[in-house]
């Protein structure tokens, strides 16, 4: 609740800061400071200090899971601000508004991570989506940005329609919007419920960009301004994933109904992994490659949904953290590049050894090489999947696809280190470099001592 309200308030504050504060740096510092406050307040709430005692009548529950996730997301956003906030200036004049929108999105994220009622889920998803449409289109002069925004908007609202139909059918069969398992411990689920569940599955798959509902992702990620792509691809995606898992764990977790969706989740996972990884192989632009790789990573996260056990829940948090860290770092570097194609990275190691080095760490993490956070995350997913009685072959498929992913991630490393060329970058401040190094260190630290995170989780 702390995070929810504070981020909402901060959103409003940022809105007006545009008028009050003249220098952009001031706005930026305000945003960072504010976000830090939100983070602290959320951590305080984890340890029982709630500032706002508000009765939500069971529409929401800020349980441990939700709060940890919030902390991770807020921390990631903080890093994101520190690394990339400066790059937002390039996009447009509405500097303060961007921050406001991001805070509203955070507010929506706190909803999706803690909903107990489909109504809140719906609102949360919408509060996340609508600002995203705008951020995607925020580079108004850039046709790609416009196109991405419109595509995202049309497809997004279409999937919202599907979701609403699903909710309606759910309501029809259950007589309530609450997602308490007890409500639907029915031995024989009705077609009404099944249909609703499937529609929810589709719309959520759309939001997490799982195949075959992933088509918007590459275009939108490619078209959106790089800074916002970074935000979309990491924090938002993680948030929607949490919503996805919460929904299907609470509402459809009962033994009578679980097999029905798990089968489809398995198939969707497989297709997502396949499409994401295979398609990424042939891309020429690193940015677009990352878009596809985000689809692939989504496929890996879906494994948690499939397995749906304690390991899976711990794992998804870890995965969210690891994936967000690495991707934020990569996009932060990418935003400094003048040329997004693979050749644009040729010989970066010679000109900018530090950027190249950190970028390598992030890529290794995404590829799931041991001693990076990414490995532990993937490891957890596989562990959870293998604990599932039928999970064996899915796990093998996933791991083989991970090998494919190595192929395109290492293309970047090869370009940076082993190819001759003059990669051009915008100038980078010392603070940026230090932040980058810090993030890289964090990635490795989590990789070597995952206990730092894991010891918190116990569900």
């Amino acid at each position: 609740m702390n995070a929810l309200i504070l981020s909402a308030v901060l959103g409003v504050v940022m809105m007006f800061s545009g008028i009050l504060l003249k220098q952009k740096s001031a706005i930026r510092y305000l945003a960072i400071a504010g976000l830090f406050v939100v983070l602290v307040s959320n951590i305080l709430e984890t340890y029982g200090t709630v500032f706002f005692k508000i009765n939500t009548n069971g529409l929401m529950s800020f349980d441990r899971f939700a709060l940890f996730f919030n902390s991770i997301v807020l921390a990631a956003t903080l890093l994101y601000f520190i690394l990339s906030a400066r790059d937002m200036e390039k996009i447009g004049v509405n500097y303060a508004e961007y921050f406001a929108l991001i805070f509203f999105i955070l507010c929506g994220i706190t909803l999706t991570s803690s909903f107990k009622s489909l109504l809140i889920l719906f609102l949360g998803i919408e509060i996340i989506s609508i600002p995203l449409y705008i951020l995607t289109g925020s580079d108004k002069k850039n046709l790609k940005s416009n196109e991405a925004a419109l595509k995202y908007f049309l497809l997004g609202s279409f999937s919202t329609g599907l979701m609403l139909m699903g909710i309606a059918l759910f309501y029809g069969s259950q007589g309530t919007f609450s997602t308490e398992v007890a409500a639907i411990a029915v031995d024989k689920p009705s077609p009404l419920l099944i249909t609703g569940m499937m529609l929810l599955l589709f719309s959520m798959s759309f939001k997490v960009s799982a195949a075959p509902f992933h088509f918007w992702t590459p275009d939108v990620y490619d078209g959106a301004p790089t800074v916002f792509t970074s935000f979309m691809a990491t924090i938002v995606k993680a948030a929607v994933f949490i919503a996805f898992i919460r929904l299907f764990d609470d509402a459809f977790g009962s033994v009578s109904i679980q097999p029905k969706w798990q089968f489809w989740v398995a198939i969707i996972t497989a297709i997502t992994l396949l499409v994401g990884n295979i398609t990424a192989v042939f891309q020429q632009s690193v940015k677009r490659m990352l878009a596809y790789s985000s689809i692939a990573q989504a496929g890996f996260m879906l494994l948690a949904l499939y397995a749906m056990n304690t390991d899976a829940k711990e794992g998804i948090l870890l995965y969210a953290a690891a994936y967000s860290l690495a991707t934020i770092g990569i996009f932060a570097v990418l935003a400094k590049m003048t040329d997004f194609t693979f050749d644009g990275f040729n010989g970066l190691a010679k000109k900018e050894p530090l950027l190249a080095g950190t970028l390598t760490v992030f890529l290794l993490s995404l590829a799931g090489i041991p001693l990076t956070a990414g490995f532990i995350a993937k490891f957890y997913m596989l562990k959870a999947t293998l604990l599932h009685p039928q999970g064996f072959w899915l796990a093998i498929f996933a791991i083989l696809m991970a090998v494919v992913s190595v192929y395109y991630y290492f293309r970047v490393i090869q370009a940076m280190y082993f190819k001759e060329g003059d990669a051009r970058t915008f100038e980078t401040t010392a603070r940026f470099r230090w932040a980058l190094v810090a993030v890289a260190a964090l990635v490795i630290l989590i990789g070597i001592f995952p206990n730092l995170l894991l010891n918190w989780f116990y569900f």
């Binding site: 109504l119 719906f122 609102l123 919408e126 609508i130 449409y133 705008i134 289109g137 108004k140 046709l143 790609k144 416009n146 196109e147 991405a148 925004a149 419109l150 595509k151 908007f153 049309l154 609202s157 279409f158 919202t160 329609g161 609403l164 139909m165 909710i167 309606a168 059918l169 309501y171 029809g172 007589g175 309530t176 919007f177 590459p218 275009d219 490619d222 078209g223």
Partner: protein, 112 residues
């Protein structure tokens, strides 16, 4: 009124909306079709809310507000729809400013 009628009616409207999205190229029309889908959902929700209301009444429960949540949900949907429309139309207009068309087929810079 048997609830099935309402189910079929709204599903029909919903499907029509989908068909519209599939068959038209004008971004605005597509958007309107999406609105149509939302309305189909609204209708269904209201019908369900009345159904549950009836069910509780016949069960002899005096809970006077049983089923009202459905209608509230419709209210929220309308709220969201309004917001979406404002943003959506803004985006479409921006698009129109740049390429002087609302034809979604012109949106093909980003592919493969």
């Amino acid at each position: 009124m048997p609830i099935n009628y309402y189910i079929f009616l709204s599903i029909a409207l919903f499907a029509i909306g989908i068909v519209g999205v599939l068959t038209r190229r004008n971004a605005i029309i597509i958007f309107m079709c999406i609105e149509l889908m939302l309305n189909a959902v609204n209708l269904l929700l209201v019908a369900f809310s009345k159904m549950h209301h009836l069910a509780t009444l016949t069960a002899g429960d005096a809970a006077i507000n049983a089923g009202s949540d459905g209608q509230l949900f419709v209210f929220f949907i309308m709220v969201v729809a309004a917001a979406e429309v404002s943003v959506g139309l803004a985006i479409i207009v921006m698009m129109y400013r740049n390429i002087h068309s609302v034809d979604v087929n012109f949106l093909n810079r980003l592919k493969h």
